[in-house]
Symmetry: C2
Subunit: 335 residues, 2 copies
């Protein structure tokens, strides 16, 4: 059954069950606000053939990834999600099942974080496009900005980098994974198809920093997510904060299966520039940083230090690789 | 100069001047909230060749219309705009000027209503797409829902219907306007290219309904905007409120130039089904309705009454046309 067969009204009726009926249905959604919080807003557009493709991404996975990317942007600001809107451009010959699967993937990810779809628009388009806007709320004192990093801060990553891009590679060229076990292959592919926005880090972070008897009370955090790559996140934070960084390559945690896929140098390139791991990159004083990494899972790590330089230096404490200045040129560019 | 020539960063730098620098630049925008107000969210997607086209719409006009449509949805909920996000899908061969013109049109409309662009996303796409999400705030007691119309309510329209679709017709087929004066032609085309969201109606409405010494204090209002056509708005309100309506065709205000373009029956069809006039359709008790129409400009009118039926009846007090039941079938469908 194609969308053109059931029309806009028919499609909307099918999608209604993914949205809370008390919110959706008017010209706009009305949502409660909470005193002493700010509204946080982020938006992402995904295009068929550019950001997802039938070859590597089912409709359900495309939905999950779209939701995860936006929730990750909220997490990067320290915000809790409140809701998302979904703007879809669809060809008339797209199957109704495809759209339902997309919504199923969206809501699977959103439900983990108690986040409703509160509105949307569905229009005819020669190319499938998915525009998500997510909004959240954050206490003013807990807002995480990029421009708050200070010299001496520890640079924390909340998990593995490089796995998502390795997963995509395996989907595009399955032969590359012939040395992997089935569970290794599945883990890397899941990192690509089902990334987890790190909203779980926030209560742990604020528990460390803001608990009344905390020795770190009112410590400042700078940060962003690593959606465009770990190197990009470090550069953006450094640029906004007018500082530099030293990153120790052996501290960047890779997925164990990466060793079977890539040489040592290529593994680090993939971790730095692969993108879409959706981890948080946080800069904060060393003591709370150590505590944060202890409480988070074993893949969290302090990977470096903020410096007074204007460069990002990659070091190797084993001496195997020469020190080198990182460059943003390898990062993902949309055009 | 094409977008592909200057890349994503180059384009973002050019567009930065349309956005307040203190808000844009992090993973998400942070906006103040106001106590005792609800957050109102609406989203629209526009596709090149479907919703706008070089043939009828300059980039500047496309921007204006996109902003106006979303602000109109906020007005329809009784909400004041707080900000919008803009998600753009662009081909690499689109000129930088086109994108700047689009943003110029967006901000021209937004500035009239003190509304900033607070975020966005720009991605590569084989088809130009514009996804706007608008945020507003509304006092809980002043939220306008569709489902609050009651039997006996007067149905108010805040202005002319049919002019926007006539303007589009003139752009598609200029010969149709050969009997029009230059100013008539310009007025109809402007109705299409530069629609005005009726945010100006709200303070007048609440002044009548909520002023302390008002005889109408706490009167209820139902309503929506007429973006998908006047008939569609009446149907949606009736359906949500579980009521019917009688509309008197001679009370629907048309642009004077319409008489030179269309026969009498076709004029009303155009007013009912043309769409994109972005007026408000409000249902409220008769006395405050009369007062509202008096204060609004001369094109506002009471066009009918809410009834206990489940139908929308079009009457003619002159007796020239037979009564007829309206149908939604003629309304705009996206697929």
């Amino acid at each position: 059954m194609k969308i053109a067969d059931i029309g806009e009204q028919g499609l909307l009726e099918k999608l209604q069950r993914f949205c809370p009926s008390e919110i959706v249905g008017d010209d706009a959604a009305v949502l409660e606000t909470v005193p002493n919080t700010s509204l946080v807003v982020t938006t992402d557009v995904l295009i068929d053939g550019v950001h997802f493709s039938d070859r590597t991404t089912s409709a359900e996975d495309a939905g999950w990834r779209a939701a995860a990317a936006n929730l990750s942007d909220l997490a990067a600001m320290g915000a809790s999600p409140v809701g998302i809107t979904v703007g879809l451009g669809l060809r008339g010959d797209v199957s109704v099942t495809w759209v339902e699967d997309l919504y199923r993937g969206l809501t699977q990810c959103l439900q983990t974080h108690n986040t409703p779809i509160v509105g949307g628009d569905i229009v005819r388009s020669p190319v499938i496009s998915i525009a998500i806007t997510a909004f959240g709320r954050v206490r003013k004192s807990q807002t995480i900005y990029r421009n708050r990093a200070r010299v001496g801060d520890a640079i924390v990553v909340t998990g593995i980098h490089g796995a998502a891009s390795a997963g995509l590679e395996l989907l595009l060229d399955p032969q590359k994974g012939e040395n992997l076990t089935e569970s290794e292959r599945a883990a890397l592919i899941e990192a690509h198809q089902r990334p987890q926005p790190r909203l779980d880090v926030l209560p742990i972070l604020w528990d460390i920093l803001n608990s009344q008897d905390s020795e770190f009370a009112s410590a400042r955090v700078a940060g962003m997510d690593s959606s465009d790559g770990l190197a990009d996140a470090i550069f953006q934070i450094c640029r906004a904060s007018n500082v530099g960084a030293v990153i120790e390559r052996n501290r960047i945690i890779l997925h164990p299966a990466m060793k079977k896929l890539l040489g040592k140098a290529a593994q680090i390139e993939s971790a730095l520039y692969g993108g879409e791991d959706f981890q948080l990159v946080l800069c904060l004083p060393k003591e709370p940083a150590v505590k944060l990494v202890q409480i988070l899972d074993t893949n969290a790590a302090i990977i470096g230090t903020i410096t007074a330089d204007s460069t990002v230096l990659l070091t190797d404490e084993t001496g195997e690789f020469k020190e080198k200045l990182l460059s943003l040129k390898q990062s993902f560019q949309h055009f």
